[in-house]
Symmetry: C4
Subunit: 349 residues, 4 copies
């Protein structure tokens, strides 16, 4: 089976992963409308490609928060990578380093931050944080991440409670006994309690985080201009426009649609990223044309892991990279700096 | 079979109810376009969820016409509950009381108002009225309802004649011999005559009703700003935006679309409710964001009854309640009073 | 099999007619887009129904060009009724008279005008004319129709050449040997030559027709405001907005959409009718709300004939009549004069 | 099997061509969205047909760059005709001449320009050029074409690199060993190297081409007003609005949509043509109504070749010609000069 595009990896993962793991990764909230809209919304955007521009030398590198990456696609934080591949997040870290891009490790990793760091020393990594009712646990995580050389702190803002994912309820989803949410073992000696996340978190907690670390703070889960304005006002360094892959509030906006509104509100004061629905290189080009500095992929990374671990994820990233470079060239852009809003329009449909 | 969402109850009811009963409950007029639009119209509305608001303490209670209910979902008037469950409307009344919400009992109940009252003393109930050519019969019903402690009178305005429901015609639908429209047995000693409803009813009959009872009058079936204005002018206390579940005039507006226009016309002078198409908790949130004080569910209540009578209907209400609470929290609202139009937008599609 | 709505007759006809006849009646030009759009366009129109209006006495009668009919639905001109039922147009004439409405007999009838007249003396009938290269033949037809008591002359304007109906080409459609285009046997002694219609007809030929007859002239096939203006200017008495059932130029407008533009241009100076896509009584209500004085049905009449001849067509008309009356009542109109544009709106979809 | 419309030829070709050849001709880039949109976009355009205009004498001839053709449909440049029919481009040239229209021969022909010229002396032909890194090779081609009597030079602007056509990757598409890109055998003695095209081509290369030949230069692949303006400014004689049949950048605009913008920008200064999505005669009429001087067909020509070589392609052209003439007549136009924007409108859908 030739792996030509990302949906080939999706088909593979659906076929070979245990159903309970596939369902967990694929799950969206309620009717999965937002999950699917994330993809469909890209298809409503049309390119306005320009011709006869010298595209013989292509430069697809970019920088996020000052760090150069090989192309504007990073790995979004997703949990439980051991469900996809035995080495779990260690493989993810190695693949990201090999491809010279950024990996956002999740609080809910099945490897410790230490294991992740050791697996791929020198790789560009950010750490994704949920704030627990047990604030000390969160504080420890932040400080471990900083000490280990993680270069950004990503606060997830859209999960005061977990969304209702029907298949997970039907399957009675839980981690197999041999996997653990290892990062939290210190804080929660007797296992992770239900409802451990703190639903009382507010914007003021950005100041608390700021007091804990010198890392740049990126807020993830913003979908409106109002919240984008608040994020800037509270001093974050970056915003990830995200709806948690459609796993939280169903029938919120597709992220690529929300990106437009957020970019407009932010007016360049902080970097804006987007995740959700990226399935081919031209989706990356659209996101950048609409103002994203970089995109992050979630499920496609898991499909890559499920295919062949570190190597499979590299395959996924390499395909995206080739497709992104080609779509840039065909749209008439030789470097990322030439990408702009003039390249796209919203279709009538 | 796990009952996770309302469509699980729908599937159960479709499988286990006699076809003639399922068809009767499911029926829409003509091509069933409005019946289906009631649901589809919700899917064209997108949330604009807000992040990092303290949602640790959630308050989902509300009041309708001064009475507090546990959450803004009541039971719409539908006929013939014995078709769904042997105890019929007695089970409905018990479930509504157990869940601390309002039940609008139909003129076409298969239990008497007295049986309904006795089944769940103290429950909040309104009575739904059709005006018969035999005005004395209607007058008796109103006065019985008031005497029994019903706290509102709901006048159905959209049924001068019964809509054409093709499946009912094909099935030759009629009640099984052991079921009766019991509330009308006194008035029509020899059975309910065909065409017993009065198609000459006009707005002036609101004054007649007013002369019969001190109960607040709620008018059900309003779909335009013009009629909303007339309703307010004629002194009703509430309006239920409804198209009778798409069972009367096919190709009228979806109720959630009509709600916007009615709310705008009413300008807060009376309470506005809506029924039709509610299938998950986030639909309730959308209706409230667009100005409804409360929603009422019709078919989902019948599916709950068909599943396990009183207990099944409680299951349905509890799922809606949990989903509504969760969607509020994920949209950034800790209490019903924080819900507003800023939470939603109509999608381009 | 219960015949509850018009699609029941369609299903019957499709099952029992010879394929070549079904295909001929069902045919649309090219991709059949306009044929299908005629129906779909009705579904994009939503009612704004009004409540609590006295609809106890319903009056659905109307007048076309001064003649009263029992309800605003007539029989559009279609050819070759013997393909549907042995008695052909004689049955059509009897059914129309029995239902007290207007029948537009086609030039391409398989019965003579004399046979049609004799079958249902006193019925309201108009005669549909194609102008032949042999002008004398057309002149004779007009004068025979007038002499036989036909009360209107309908000039078809949209067939300078026959549209390309792929199935007819594949089937090699031609009338069976025992059927004839009887009205033209006098003019064309040796059979109807191919290309007998005159593609050079222009607006000035209206004056020629006017010189031949005192009958009111109705022009059929108008789809634009420009042509509507020209029709009025050339002195016609009525306009039928029609695209020939989608059998001529594919991808022209749906007739109900074109009606709006034509009615606006005509400003009440002549009567405007519409055909194409009428499948239920509420479609008639929509057409009248948008300014049509009356609608004409084509294929549904043929399905009725195919079902049971004269009786089957009466069934079709009676169903439409009942549905029209009911939809009027449910929309809050007690008489045709109360129908207006306020009753409808175009849906967002 | 009767060949009634172009999709009959498509079905034939899909059935009888080797899968690898069918896939190559049918291929679109990535998700094939633009390939399919080229067709769908035509279906969103509605005619506004005019009636009672004398269409007894139809004139469908037109001129492109001064040369008269029998109707405004030419043959777009496509590669590898021997994959469709053994005689390859020789058959194409003969069919185009027989039908008195223009054939744009591709650089990637499987016959030499000399063979093509000899096959149909006197036919109107343009030559399509890719600019190779080996500029001398391109220069030789231009000069051979001019010497052989080709009357226009078509520069393809949208292929700095080849688009990603998944099926070709899966199939490992390559020409069978007995076929050759014959025009380039002189320049590349040891076979065509990969990446032989020059991705550094810019607008200034138009001046270089101009220095090589006196032929009119037509630029192919323009999709935006900005590039249309640049094309005029750099002195081309014509523009072909094209997205390479959806084979290059997926999710660019449908060509018929881009045509509107290009025609507006060009303001009649040069001739504008369009290719992509033409499947019936009325599509040609739409393109002309929106300002195209002529259209070119790609895949339908290949289907015709696959059916019966030269004769099959003539069949395709003759069907298009008949359909175009008929649709003109039914829209009320007797000659190409009467076609204008008033004939069309974009549908609400």
């Amino acid at each position: 089976m030739a792996m030509v595009c990302l949906s080939d990896f999706e088909a593979y993962a659906k076929k070979y992963l245990p159903k309970i793991a596939w369902d967990y990764f694929a799950a969206g909230a309620d009717d999965c409308i937002t999950r699917d809209e994330n993809i469909l919304a890209y298809k409503r955007i049309r390119f306005r490609p320009r011709m006869l521009r010298d595209v013989s030398v292509m430069d697809i590198r970019t920088k996020i928060l000052g760090s150069e990456i090989s192309f504007p696609v990073g790995i979004a934080p997703t949990g439980f990578h051991q469900l996809a591949w035995p080495d779990g997040e260690k493989s993810t870290a190695r693949a990201a380093r090999a491809m010279d891009t950024c990996y956002i490790a999740s609080t809910y990793s099945t490897c410790t931050l230490e294991e992740i760091s050791a697996a791929a020393p020198g790789g560009l990594r950010w750490f994704q944080l949920y704030i627990h009712r047990n604030r000390a646990a969160s504080q420890q995580l932040v400080q471990r991440a900083e000490a280990l050389g993680f270069q950004g702190l990503v606060l997830t803002a859209d999960l005061p409670y977990t969304g209702k994912r029907r298949d997970d309820v039907r399957n009675g989803f839980r981690l197999p006994p041999h996997m653990k949410v290892k990062n939290l073992e210190r804080a929660f000696e007797y296992g992770l309690p239900p409802n451990s996340l703190d639903p009382s978190v507010t914007w003021n907690d950005i100041y608390w985080l700021r007091s804990l670390t010198r890392l740049p703070i990126i807020i993830k889960g913003i979908l409106t201009r109002e919240d984008a304005e608040l994020a800037v006002k509270h001093g974050v360094q970056g915003i990830i426009v995200s709806n948690h892959g459609g796993r939280q509030l169903d029938e919120g906006p597709a992220t690529i649609d929300a990106l437009v509104e957020v970019v407009e509100a932010v007016r360049g004061r902080v970097e804006v990223y987007v995740d959700g629905g990226i399935r081919k290189g031209s989706d990356v080009l659209k996101a950048l044309a609409l103002g994203a500095k970089c995109v992050f992929i979630g499920r496609p990374a898991l499909w890559g892991l499920a295919y062949k671990g570190e190597k499979g994820l590299q395959d996924v990233l390499r395909i995206l990279q080739d497709e992104f470079r080609l779509s840039m060239a065909l749209a008439g852009c030789a470097s990322v700096s030439e990408i702009g809003q003039h390249l796209v329009q919203f279709s009538r449909l």
